[in-house]
């Protein structure tokens, strides 16, 4: 699904060059749920920006869903973001002026779908996150967890191949965080690839694989896998019911 080889990303100001990513390589397979971890400034966010085609990089290759996306124009990148990738942000990034329905509608509008098709998708995805009764509400009228569910509905409506989540539970209390993680698990179980950047070990263990980033590189920490696999699977089973 996602294949990065020797990616280098440098931020330049007049006086300093910051090597945000240096020789960064990562392969994520279709259907995987991967957690990316690392301390502040390690390059996690840069990785996510590059992976999500929100930002360009200086050298290396990036193949997404079998297509080389290393050198694309802004509008080509916009198109792929719109159709193939879904974002879940730490701060939800709902548009405060738009009601829930219209917020989920935003990416669909840029895809040029018919009105009825859009309506179907929005209703279906709001159903999936259990918020169809709140479709006329404004984001400010919802709790943090509900807002994040709307953000996820926005992703689901677009039916992406890859979901990039950036600290999806960072702004939520633990109960709501659990809810969101359950939802992501469910989505992953349905076949969507998820790459999640997180600080939180509790969230990270819900993923099938953990990647550690340090100084702009993936480091091999040789995590003991055995201790993680069993409870994760059990968790999904229990919440999906």
């Amino acid at each position: 699904m996602l294949e990065m080889h020797n990616i280098r990303k440098i931020y330049r100001t007049v006086t300093i060059e910051t090597h945000a990513l240096e020789d960064f390589s990562l392969v994520v397979n279709s259907g995987e749920f991967v957690a990316v971890m690392g301390p502040s400034g390690s390059g996690k966010t840069t990785f996510l920006n590059v992976a999500g085609l929100l930002d360009t990089f200086d050298s290396g290759t990036y193949t997404l869903d079998g297509k080389d996306v290393s050198r694309l124009s802004d509008s080509e990148m916009s198109r792929i973001r719109n159709r193939a990738i879904g974002f879940v942000f730490q701060s939800f990034n709902l548009i405060p002026d738009l009601n829930i329905f219209d917020n989920v509608d935003v990416p669909l509008r840029y895809r040029g779908l018919s009105a009825s098709d859009r309506k179907d998708r929005i209703e279906r995805s709001l159903d999936m996150v259990g918020l169809s009764s709140r479709r006329k509400h404004l984001p400010s009228q919802l709790s943090g967890g509900q807002q994040q569910r709307v953000a996820i509905a926005r992703v689901l409506a677009g039916d992406p191949k890859l979901i990039l989540a950036d600290e999806p539970t960072g702004n939520l209390d633990s109960l709501m965080a659990r809810e969101i993680m359950d939802l992501l698990d469910r989505i992953n179980a349905a076949g969507t690839t998820i790459v999640m950047v997180t600080h939180s070990p509790e969230c990270a263990v819900r993923a099938q694989r953990q990647i550690h980033v340090l100084d702009g590189k993936v480091v091999d920490l040789d995590m003991p896998r055995i201790s993680l696999a069993a409870p994760a699977g059990a968790g999904i089973a229990s919440t999906l019911g």
């Binding site: 929100l54 930002d55 802004d74 916009s78 709902l94 738009l98 935003v106 840029y110 950036d166």
Partner: protein
């Protein structure tokens, strides 16, 4: 997509009503002021006879003082009218398809004593061609015929105002009106005819009142008529008789010729020059050969039909619109930059730069349209007010015509677009990744 952009734009405009009313107010003021003054200017510059004015020519000959130009400081200047004898000579060219000398005089109108006391009135003398050349519309009847010109027959044409005054607006064809000491039969009543500029005689004010009565030119001599408009002479008549006035170098009438083709125009200029050369042999026209055969649009330009104050105000008003637009740029910039977080979300969700750009341009245009509409209405009101002061003869002419409404709408769209381009570009060129974590 346009519908969606309009929806987003309306939402965004509703969010901050104060800012939105400032934005709309800025455009409205700019459009109001610029439209008002451009309309005033347009009024004076407008072609009075579209499609025809290029073929109608005003003739001037330099018969002035050998030692001194018509305007002493400007050696290129020449008299603004022609003499009676030269007008008669020009009538014989045989080149113009239609032609007429014309001037105004004053005569007493003696209405039915029950209607009013006698009153003195400006009467315009002309050949029948006057009406057909200048496309004068008729409510009743029409121009007199060629025979009436030649004889001349005692016939007149009234305009609506005079017909109202004398006959209460009824069809007065065939009725008689006493002018001076003779009775004249009404053959035509002019319909709705009121160009903003009195283009057929610009020797006095261009907004001067039109004459209300017209009679055949050939009454000039039998009635010994004298002009009530301008008359200029560098030397007086050689005697006291009326004929010596007609034969003098005093200029007092306008002369018009219709010359539809370039060949005719060239031939006519040749004819005029030859005529003056012949006259030089008789001792007249001692200044260097200088004649002007000028089309209506050129004449309006040359005689400065647009009052200088109106011209200055139209320039100033355009700058005013620029100031309003600069304000708009500043306000839109602030408004759009404050929206960068939202835009970055849209960008992350797949909106392309162009889509974001258009979304914001649409918003600017909505402001432009709203402001333009308000400005247009304001301007109509102001023009009505100005009309009362500036164009006493015909205040109803000071208004926005279709062309001006289009210009005004165009101006507001352009102002909205120009003011919005830079802010829209700024907001769409922000990289999405940078703003992701900021709310």
């Amino acid at each position: 997509m346009l519908g969606y952009n309009v929806k987003i734009a309306l939402k965004s405009l509703r969010r901050n009503p104060i800012l939105t009313s400032l934005l709309i107010g800025a455009i409205a003021l700019g459009i109001c002021v610029s439209t008002t003054f451009i309309a005033l200017r347009h009024l004076f510059e407008k072609d009075p006879l579209p499609g025809k004015s290029q073929t109608l020519f005003y003739v001037r000959l330099d018969n002035w003082d050998p030692q001194r130009a018509y305007v002493a400081e400007d050696p290129k200047s020449l008299p603004s009218q022609v003499t009676y004898r030269d007008a008669m000579a020009l009538m014989k060219s045989g080149i113009a398809t239609q032609q007429t000398p014309t001037y105004k005089t004053r005569l007493f109108v003696h209405p039915d004593p029950k209607v009013s006391r006698p009153f003195s009135e400006n009467i315009r003398l002309a050949y029948r061609d006057f009406f057909t050349m200048f496309n004068v519309p008729f409510q009743y009847g029409g121009a007199w015929d060629k025979a009436a010109d030649a004889k001349p027959e005692q016939v007149i044409v009234l305009d609506q105002t005079m017909n109202q005054k004398l006959f209460g607006g009824a069809n007065s064809i065939g009725r008689t009106v006493r002018l001076g000491e003779r009775n004249y039969k009404v053959v035509g009543v002019i319909g709705d005819w009121r160009p903003a500029v009195k283009f057929y005689d610009m020797t006095q004010s261009v907004t001067a009142e039109f004459e209300h009565v017209f009679m055949p030119f050939n009454f000039t001599r039998p009635l010994e008529l004298t002009p009530s408009g301008n008359s200029d002479g560098w030397k007086g008549p050689d005697g006291d008789s009326y004929d010596s006035f007609l034969n003098s170098e005093v200029v007092w009438m306008q002369f018009w010729a219709e010359l539809p083709t370039a060949e005719k125009q060239a031939a006519y200029r040749q004819y005029v020059d030859n005529y003056v050369r012949d006259q030089k042999k008789l001792g007249r026209f001692q200044r260097p050969l200088h004649n002007e055969v000028t089309s209506i649009p050129d004449l309006m330009k040359e005689l400065n039909a647009v009052p200088p104050a109106v011209k200055s105000m139209s320039i100033v008003s355009m700058l005013f619109l620029v100031v309003c637009s600069l304000n708009l740029v500043g306000l839109l910039l602030g408004k759009f930059l404050a929206r960068i977080p939202e835009v970055s979300v849209r960008r992350a969700l797949g909106a392309s730069r162009l889509q974001v750009f258009w979304q914001h341009v649409v918003e600017c245009e909505l402001v432009g349209i709203a402001g333009g509409a308000i400005g247009l209405l304001l301007s109509m009101g102001i023009l009505r007010l100005i009309g009362k002061f500036a164009h006493q003869q015909a205040p109803e002419l000071v208004r926005l015509d279709g062309e001006m409404v289009l210009i005004s709408i165009f101006l507001s769209l352009v102002a909205g677009l120009l003011a919005g381009l830079y802010p829209s570009w700024r907001v769409c060129s922000v990289a999405p990744a940078m703003q992701l974590k900021v709310q």
